[in-house]
């Protein structure tokens, strides 16, 4: 599964993307976030403030309860500020 990070979340994680294999028991976006934070201090710092984290799966905005597939492209980023 390809995970992308943007803006200050990317800076805190330290890399723009990671390739991970979805472990057993991780089915939703929320569970993926918890797993990433448990396994990586940088991710823990980047995703700690949950209400500042937005998620897209396959380039569509989704909620934390969205169910994942192994082939999904998942992106974490703060609220957008374009326009």
């Amino acid at each position: 599964m390809n995970i992308l990070y943007f803006s200050w979340i990317r800076e805190k994680v330290g890399v723009p993307h990671q390739d991970v294999t979805l472990p057993d028991g991780v089915r939703t976006v929320g569970q993926l976030m918890t797993w990433l934070m448990e396994n990586d201090d940088h991710c823990a710092a980047a995703l700690a403030e949950q209400k500042a984290v937005r998620v897209a799966v396959n380039q569509e905005h989704v909620g934390f309860d969205h169910v994942l597939n192994d082939s999904d492209e998942v992106a974490f980023f703060p609220p957008v500020t374009g326009g």
Partner: protein
Amino acid sequence: MIRVQKEDFDISSEIDALVGEDRGIGGICSFMGTVRDMADGASIDSMTLEHYTGMTEKALSGIEEEANNRWNLSATLIIHRYGELYPGDRIVLVVTASPHREEAFMACQFLMDWLKTKAPFWKREEGEAGSKWVDARAADDLATDRWRQ
């Protein structure tokens, strides 16, 4: 039509190309966003726009389609720039053309409001206050909310 680009744009040429030979158009509304030289009382030297290639195009096409479903529009255009920009530079252009002015105005505002809260762009400002990521405005969420049915 949507375009995500590093390059500047010219509003006259864009409108002319968009309207073409369509003589049913009676009103053309446009909005252009520009880089300001101040933010929260501190001067700005430059701004960098990061975006999520692929999702940006998808998000802009999606909101453009939604506007065309809601209003009778003859043509629509969204151009959004990315990369490094300076005070006075153009960032975004939205153009809506319609037989009637009310629909052109509504659609143009709708596109700007949705773009502000749905298109995956992030602004980083460099200036007097150092280098910082711009915070999302609560007012932008409220502006988007008013379009929910």
